[in-house]
C-alpha cells in the first residue's frame, strides 16, 4: 500500500494537477429541502413477494382454480340434490342396482361397479385425500419447526441432534412408509402417522440451518442484551424469516401425501374400501381400464387428482420464487 502511494500515483496526481484548474468548479447552492431528504426506500418484503407472485399468471390462475376446487370439495355434501358417497343407487321403478351407468344427466360421473355415484365418490375421496395432505403438512410444520428451532438455537443439543439426523435421514422414506403401514392396521390415523414419521426431517434441517445463520446477527445480539426472553426472540426475530420456506414445504407436502396415499393403496396397504379416497378410486378404476366403456371410472378421479397435485406444486414453486429476495428487482 505504501509503495503504491509513493510511486506511480504521484506521477498521476501531478499530471491531474496540470489538467485541472479551479475555474472548472462552481459552488453549489445550499438547498435545505435536499439536505433534509434521507435515503429511504419503500421496499417491503411481503409486498414485493406478492407483486412478484401475482406477475406469474399461470400460478395465479391455478390459485383461483384450486381455491374454488377446495371450497367446492368441502361444501359439496351440503349442496341440494347430492347423494351420499357410499349409497348404492337402485332404480326407483324396478329396484335393480344401477351399476356401471355411463355418465349422464342423473349421474354426472356415472356409477361404479356396485352402483355408487362416482360424482359424490370423487368429491368425498378428494376430501379424504386433502384431509390427509393437510394433516401431514401441518404436523410436518409443527414438528419440523419445534425440532429445527431447538436444534439450531440450543447449542448443547446440536451435536446429538446432528448425529440422530444422519441416521434417520438414511432410512428410505418409501420403505418406512411401507413398513409402518404393514405393521399397523390400515386406517386414516395409521396412514397419517406413517407419513408424518419422517417427513419433518427435511423441514427441521432447513430451519436449523437458517437459525444457525441468523441467530447471531447483530439485531438478535441486541435483543438478547436488552433482556428479551428467548421465546420472544424465536417468535419475533427468527420465525418471520422462515415463513416462505414453510409455505413451500406445505405446498409440496400436500401433493406428496396425496401421492403416497395412492401408492399405499396400490400396494395393498391403503385405506379400507369403505372410506372413499382418491387412492381407492384410482385403484378400483385400474381394474376397469381393460374395458373401454368403463374407463371413465378411472379418468374422472385421475383428472381431479392431477389438477389438485399440479396446482399445489406450481403454486408452491411460484411462491418460493417470489419469496426469494433475489427476484425482488
Amino acid at each position: 500500500m505504501k509503495k503504491f502511494l509513493d510511486g506511480a500515483p504521484n506521477r498521476v496526481s501531478d499530471h491531474i494537477e496540470e489538467m485541472i484548474s479551479d475555474k472548472d468548479f462552481t459552488f453549489a447552492n445550499y438547498d435545505e429541502a435536499a439536505a433534509e431528504r434521507v435515503t429511504w426506500s419503500d421496499y417491503s418484503y411481503w409486498r414485493s413477494t406478492f407483486r412478484v407472485f401475482f406477475k406469474n399468471r399461470t400460478a395465479v390462475l391455478l390459485l383461483i382454480l384450486l381455491a374454488a376446487l377446495l371450497l367446492f370439495t368441502f361444501i359439496q355434501p351440503h349442496l341440494p340434490g347430492q347423494r351420499p358417497a357410499t349409497l348404492i343407487n337402485n332404480d326407483p321403478e324396478t329396484g335393480m342396482t344401477l351399476f356401471n351407468v355411463q355418465p349422464n344427466e342423473e349421474f354426472w360421473f356415472g356409477t361404479n361397479s356396485i352402483g355408487q355415484d362416482l360424482w359424490s365418490m370423487v368429491w368425498s375421496g378428494t376430501r379424504t385425500s386433502l384431509i390427509i395432505g393437510f394433516t401431514v403438512a401441518l404436523s410436518e410444520v409443527v414438528i419440523g419447526i419445534t425440532v429445527g428451532v431447538l436444534w439450531g438455537y440450543v447449542r448443547s443439543l446440536d451435536h446429538i441432534m446432528t448425529a440422530l439426523y444422519n441416521v434417520l435421514d438414511n432410512i428410505p422414506q418409501t420403505i418406512l412408509l411401507i413398513l409402518i403401514s404393514y405393521i399397523l392396521r390400515p386406517s386414516m390415523s395409521t396412514i397419517i402417522l406413517a407419513m408424518c414419521l419422517t417427513s419433518w426431517l427435511k423441514m427441521a434441517r432447513f430451519i436449523r440451518n437458517q437459525i444457525v445463520i441468523i441467530r447471531d446477527r447483530d439485531y438478535n445480539l441486541a435483543s438478547r442484551c436488552l433482556g428479551t426472553p428467548t421465546y420472544r426472540i424465536i417468535l419475533r426475530n427468527l420465525l418471520p424469516y422462515l415463513v416462505s420456506v414453510m409455505m413451500l414445504r406445505i405446498a409440496t407436502t400436500i401433493p406428496e401425501a396425496i401421492g403416497n396415499e395412492v401408492f399405499l393403496t396400490y400396494i395393498g396397504l391403503g385405506l379400507p374400501v369403505s372410506i372413499p379416497s382418491l387412492g381407492n378410486l384410482i385403484n378400483t378404476g385400474r381394474g376397469m381400464l381393460m374395458y373401454q366403456s368403463l374407463r371413465y371410472q378411472l379418468i374422472f378421479p385421475a383428472i381431479v387428482l392431477s389438477v389438485v397435485t399440479v396446482s399445489f406444486y406450481i403454486i408452491g414453486n411460484a411462491f418460493a420464487d417470489a419469496a426469494d429476495p433475489k427476484n425482488h428487482m
Binding site: I171, P172, Y182
Partner: protein, 314 residues
C-alpha cells in the same frame, strides 16, 4: 483422501448397523399371521405358540437380533414361508434381481441420455417455447403421482403402438414401455436440476468475464458452465442407479416384470413376514450404500472439496 474414505466408510457401516437394528425391532411388531400362512385360522392358540416359539420368535429381542446378525454374516436371509414355502430367500432374490438390474440400468442410461441434454436445451432457450414445454413435462412428471401416469401410459401406449401389455422375457418389444416408464421420473429430475444449476452458473461473474473476453457462447457452455453444473448432480447418481436397478415397485407389478419391486408388492399382499423383512433390509442397505458412493464420487469429481480439515472452519 484415504483417511476420508475410511472415515466415511466407518460412518456408513455404523449407520447401516443402527438402521438395520431399528428396522429389525420394528419388524417384530408385524402381524403374526404373516408367519403361519393360510393355516392360521385352523390352528389352536397352543399350536400357534408352539410354532412361533420354534421359529425363535418368542425369544427376547437381543437373542433374536444376535441370531439375525450371525445368519446375515453367513449370507442367510432366512426362508420364505408363504410366497414359496421353505425356499431360502437369498435364492429367490438371486433369481429376481438380474431382471430388475438389467431393466434398471437400461432405464437409468435412458434418463441420463435424455434428461441431461433436455436440461441443457432448456437452459439454451431459457424462457422460450422449448423451455416452457420442458418445464411442463417436468411438472407433470413430478407433481402427478406416478401410479396415475404409469397406468395411463400402459393403457394408451399399448393400444396406440400395439406394444405388449405384459412383460415377456425374450420379447424385446415388451421391454420398451416398462423401461420408458421407469426412466421418466429420473429424466425429469435430471432435466430440472441440470437447468437450475446451469442457470445459476450462467449468472456468475466468471461467465460474464469469459463473455467480455470474447469467448464463444458454445465454448462457455461446454467448457465452463456444463461441468460446473453437472458436478452437484453426480452425487445423486449412485443412489438413483441402485434404487432404479432394484426395480420400481409400481412399474414392475403393473407390467408383471418378475423383478424385485414386483416381489415386494407380492409378499406384502400375501403377508409373508420373512420376505418383507429381507426385502426391506435389502432396500435400506442399498440406499445407504448409494449415499456412500455418492459422497465418494463427489469427492473425486469436485476439486473444491478437500479432505484435510481446515482450522476454524465449522
Amino acid at each position: 483422501m484415504f483417511k476420508y474414505l475410511l472415515k466415511r466408510l466407518a460412518q456408513a457401516v455404523l449407520t447401516l448397523f443402527v438402521i438395520l437394528t431399528i428396522i429389525f425391532c420394528l419388524l417384530r411388531l408385524m402381524p403374526e399371521e404373516g408367519y403361519l400362512g393360510d393355516s392360521y385360522d385352523k390352528m389352536t392358540e397352543i399350536q400357534r405358540e408352539t410354532i412361533l416359539t420354534e421359529m425363535g420368535l418368542r425369544d427376547p429381542i437381543p437373542v433374536q437380533l444376535a441370531k439375525f446378525y450371525t445368519d446375515l454374516f453367513h449370507g442367510d436371509l432366512g426362508t420364505s414361508w408363504i410366497y414359496r414355502p421353505n425356499v431360502p430367500i437369498s435364492e429367490i432374490v438371486a433369481e429376481k434381481a438380474p431382471i430388475s438390474i438389467q431393466m434398471g440400468l437400461l432405464a437409468m442410461a435412458l434418463s441420463l441420455v435424455v434428461g441431461i441434454p433436455l436440461g441443457v436445451f432448456m437452459t439454451r432457450f431459457k424462457d422460450g417455447i422449448p423451455d416452457k414445454l420442458g418445464m411442463a413435462f417436468v411438472v407433470l412428471v413430478m407433481a402427478i403421482p406416478s401410479a396415475v401416469y404409469h397406468l395411463f401410459i400402459q393403457t394408451y401406449a399399448t393400444e396406440w403402438l400395439g406394444l405388449p401389455m405384459l412383460f415377456k422375457e425374450g420379447d424385446f418389444s415388451s421391454w420398451i414401455l416398462p423401461t420408458i416408464s421407469l426412466s421418466l421420473y429420473n429424466t425429469a429430475t435430471f432435466a430440472l436440476w441440470m437447468r437450475r444449476y446451469m442457470v445459476d452458473e450462467l449468472n456468475k461473474d466468471y461467465v460474464r468475464l469469459a463473455r467480455a473476453k470474447g469467448v464463444k457462447n458454445s465454448a462457455i457452455m461446454a467448457r465452463h458452465v456444463f461441468p460446473n453444473a453437472f458436478v452437484p448432480l453426480i452425487q445423486t447418481i449412485p443412489s438413483m442407479i441402485l434404487l432404479t436397478a432394484m426395480g420400481s415397485i409400481y412399474v414392475e407389478s403393473l407390467y408383471s416384470v418378475p423383478g424385485m419391486g414386483g416381489l415386494l408388492v407380492d409378499v406384502i399382499q400375501r403377508q409373508d413376514n420373512a420376505m418383507v423383512q429381507a426385502l426391506v433390509l435389502i432396500y435400506a442397505s442399498l440406499s445407504i450404500v448409494g449415499l456412500l458412493l455418492g459422497d465418494i464420487l463427489m469427492g473425486i469429481c469436485d476439486p473444491r472439496i478437500t479432505f484435510t480439515s481446515k482450522g476454524g472452519a465449522r
